[in-house]
């Protein structure tokens, strides 16, 4: 059976067991199956909070005999400033985690803080990014594989890798073109204003947009065409009072996460990111304060 391999961060991660909504990756596989007349199995190795280096590590395993020219591949390109600090915590990479300091010991947290302050910089991130993407392009060419779809989850400077012909770059960015425009006012702190806790959407997108993105992705993979993330998605779908509408919740987002936020009193907990609290990064939202 042909496979659809997926690797990335929370924008591509599969729902937890027991959550049966057809997320966009599943819909992409179904679309390929419909177009090709053959079943397609999804093999999704994405991880919430992962970094590009962790994805690279997964791909170095996949390209070592794990993928064939009949298979398909989606790569969700997370932000290059995430860093895989601790081998055993590939999910602890993001300076905007609220509780990074609770996931590492004191000296490890200090190591991360000083790395961000003194060592990490866009030039270094970009050098690594060029090399990572070249690895993918090179293996695609070498093993005569289908062009992988590479989707930017966040805005980032691509430099020359944008022009590697072996990569099928999606047009647009998941964060900027789909997930943020879903809010009535995208500039407000989503966790505080809309969700009263952590984001309960599957892959940070409402199901209405999964239903658009999934089939489009399947078509782009099957036809080797550009996936458009810019036009035709639903904006303004999340209102400040959306959570009060049970039907909307059931239809568009993950009700289990909504309940989890209530059970854990998340709306009362500060959602200010660790890096903002430490003064390492600027606030992302206009009402993000300590």
């Amino acid at each position: 059976m042909n496979k659809l391999f997926v690797i990335g961060d929370s924008f591509t991660v599969e729902p937890l067991k027991g959550e049966d909504k057809p997320y966009w990756i599943k819909q992409a596989a179904d679309e390929i199956a419909r177009l090709s007349g053959e079943p397609v199995a999804v093999s999704n190795a994405s991880m919430m909070g992962s970094s590009q280096d962790w994805v690279s590590h997964g791909l170095q395993t996949l390209y070592n005999g794990g993928i064939t020219p009949n298979d398909y591949l989606i790569i969700g390109l997370t932000h290059p400033n995430r860093f895989w600090y601790k081998e055993k915590r590939p999910d602890v990479t993001n300076p905007h985690l609220t509780d990074l300091d609770e996931m590492l010991d004191k000296e490890e947290t200090r190591a991360v803080e000083l790395y961000m302050r003194h060592i990490q910089r866009p030039l270094l991130d970009t050098i690594h990014l060029q090399n990572r993407l070249a690895y993918i392009a090179y293996q695609t060419r070498r093993q005569k594989l289908r062009r992988p779809i590479v989707i930017k989850c966040f805005e980032q400077q691509l430099g020359q890798c944008e022009f590697y012909p072996e990569l099928n770059w999606a047009n647009g960015i998941l964060m900027d073109n789909i997930q943020r425009p879903e809010f009535w006012d995208p500039d407000l702190d989503e966790n505080a204003v809309y969700w009263r806790g952590i984001d309960p959407r599957y892959n940070h997108m409402c199901m209405s947009n999964h239903n658009i993105l999934g089939p489009r992705t399947g078509q782009a993979l099957y036809n080797d065409t550009t996936l458009d993330l810019v036009n035709g998605y639903i904006a303004g779908i999340v209102q400040p009072g959306s959570l009060d509408d049970p039907e909307w919740v059931k239809r568009e987002i993950n009700p289990y996460t909504v309940q989890w936020n209530i059970d854990n009193n998340r709306k009362y907990k500060s959602m200010t990111s660790w890096a903002v609290k430490m003064g390492i990064r600027e606030p992302t939202f206009k009402n993000e304060t300590d």
């Binding site: 280096d53 690279s56 590590h57 170095q60 070592n64 860093f83 895989w84 600090y85 601790k86 081998e87 000296e107 490890e108 200090r110 190591a111 991360v112 000083l114 790395y115 302050r117 003194h118 060592i119 910089r121 030039l123 270094l124 050098i127 690594h128 060029q130 090399n131 990572r132 070249a134 690895y135 392009a137 090179y138 293996q139 060419r141 430099g159 020359q160 590697y164």
Partner: protein, 293 residues
Amino acid sequence: MTLPQGPKLFIIGDSFSAQRPGTEHIDTWQKLVAERLSAERGETVHLVNSSLVGSSQDWCWGILQEWFWNEAIGPDDYLIVALTHPSRFWFLDRLPELSNSNVIDLDRHVSKDEASAIELFIKHIQRPQLDQILILNRLSYLAYIAGQQNLRRPLLIKCFEQDVYVADTFEELNWAKGTLFDDIQSHEFDTTRNHTDDVNDFWRGLDGRFNHMCLTNHKILAERVAKSLLENSQLDLSDGFVKNLIPHAWEVDFEFQKTELDYELVQKNLSSRTRWSPILPWKKRRGITSSHS
């Protein structure tokens, strides 16, 4: 970036390929290779050597990416990458030469907080697994671009022994056999000297050789490198270089100093030898060990 017209020999790497300013007239291997290529082709092959003493692989790849982005290297040019040790890290943007925590007095050049950042990075973050991911990606970049732009196969010379994983099967790369450190520079010393002894202690300062090799071996190396580039064949570093070149009494052997060493540097070392004291590397002094070792 302004480059001369005509064919060029690009070199990037660390102290095994860097040129000390003011020594351009010396017959180092890089200069001799360019001359040999020029003679064979009947036209000048310009040497573009951007190597930097103490640099890391990331810094070198930053330069490579700049060259490729600007299409500085064409199918008629040559490229040599002297591959430094993958554990070196380009910690601070302004100090690309301070990448090797094993041998430098790093804390004399950086702030207290920066030194702490580097120390904790080595202790808690850097690990062979990350180095492996990064090196495979780097070498893929080089192989990919060389193939994409129809360039001559870049010649990769390992300065130090290192695992390059499956990259030694990338057909777009021309890997030299052996390493500069283990097969040439170490064997130039008297056999009584232990290879692990401190080089700076031996020279009473910086290594008195150009690129850690005596000029006799530069000539041999240059001939072989030129042949490898011209014939697209493998360069052999493992055999045929002169061993035990450095006489026991090198400090008073002026003829040897003049013909084989960086004479100016050696004189500087010797003039201050009474004041010379070995520098214990910062990493050792601080007792920094990786939590992964």
